[in-house]
Amino acid sequence: MHDLAYERPETLAGALALLQARGRHAQPLAGGTDLIIGLRHGTLDPDTIVDTKHIPELRPAITDSGGLLSISANTVLADIAADRRVQEHFPALAQAAATVGAVQIRNRATLAGNICNASPAADTAPPLLVYEAEVVAIGRDGMRRIPINDFFAGPGQTALARGELVLAVDLPVPTGPTGSAFGRLTRRRGADLATVSVCACVTGSGVTRLGFGAVGPRPLLVTDDSGLLADPAADPAARAGLLARLATAASPVSDVRASRDYRMRMLLVLSQRVLSAAITRRGEE
């Protein structure tokens, strides 16, 4: 890795000032599990690393307030997977967080890092999409809330302005009966990224939201308001047809993990599976 400067601001204002001053040459550091690989491979080329782990507002915390579960930026995935409130209200997020890398990675990697890295295959993205999470970001001009579906702009690209930091990810706690599940196809659990990932959330009023990962330039959200997908007693052919129509939003590439054709087919298989699991969970509530 080439020479660079390391800054460790102790205040949010200090961090924002640094990011502002260094512009595109500064790179925020959270868990580092993507950043350090990027530095080593030369895909990231900052001259200043701004370590965010000593900023009080970003310190690991999962807080429950007014129907929102707020996960602070530097909360690591291991703690999200193990959190009782996440498991209860957002089980697919707990599942997805427990799927990222292996123990060593989950002990270090953060939720904010996972979404800011903005990989189309980010495991936590499909659950955050179906749970309608909001990203709380702060910059020199103040704080703003970004709906997660507006956050992902493309591979490695987010809606964050230069110099903005993620403070937290907020999840609205479901009020009615809801069922959700996450599934991922991968070549080797513990080391490889998702070949395809899907998250499903079905509500009591019959809305189905599906989050697709690794099948397009960014994680995708598709919604069925008709009630068809959420109704296990509906005509199977009609349900499969609707699912196939929703899956046309996907535009996977062929790469080292799988061909485009395989991904498209597995997207449907995985969607059927997680949808069934989500409906079952809704029934258990």
Binding site: I36, G101, N107
Partner: protein
């Protein structure tokens, strides 16, 4: 040249005060500065687990931690496990079950298994597979490693 930064950390119970360059990893610091070569460098992308160490009570891939991030931290490496030169029960079971072939992955396997046993003193085979999923063994000693962990399960002196 990058400016080095003075850091203080405790490694295997010994307080250390060192200069670290920002681009150096904890792995570099342990192996090259402190000579603790039990921690292995292998994939350098956080997939193989050969560089596993305990950092403030949690196992991490030391290839994905900058040395400067470990300022103020408590680090345990494979050299820190065998207190007074006496192998832990887990290490003895690794030997007894032939869980070591070329041995390159073993320090990381032992660190990860040690963490697993702290969290789950009586792990199931599924828990062992999950707990060691981040540690690759290219000799394919997975069955023997699992047996060694199972043999340590529930023992007082893990």
């Amino acid at each position: 040249m990058s400016q080095t930064r003075r850091i203080r950390l405790t490694v295997n119970g010994i307080p250390r005060e060192l200069d670290a360059a920002p681009q150096h990893t904890l792995l570099d610091l342990l192996r090259d500065t402190l000579g603790l070569t039990g921690t292995k460098a292998c994939c350098l992308v956080g997939e193989c687990g050969a560089c596993t160490v305990r950092l403030d009570g949690r196992i991490v891939d030391s290839c994905l931690v900058l040395a400067v991030e470990a300022d103020g931290a408590e680090v345990t490496t494979i050299e820190g496990l065998a207190a007074g030169g006496r192998l832990t029960r887990l290490q003895r079971e690794f030997l007894a079950h032939g869980a070591v072939q070329c041995g390159y992955c073993s320090p990381g396997q032992v660190m990860a298994a040690s963490e697993l046993l702290r969290a789950h003193p009586h792990p199931t085979v599924a828990q062992i597979r999950e707990g060691l999923a981040g540690n690759l063994c290219r000799c394919g000693c997975y069955a023997q490693i699992t047996e060694a962990v199972l043999a340590t399960s529930g023992e007082d002196d893990q």
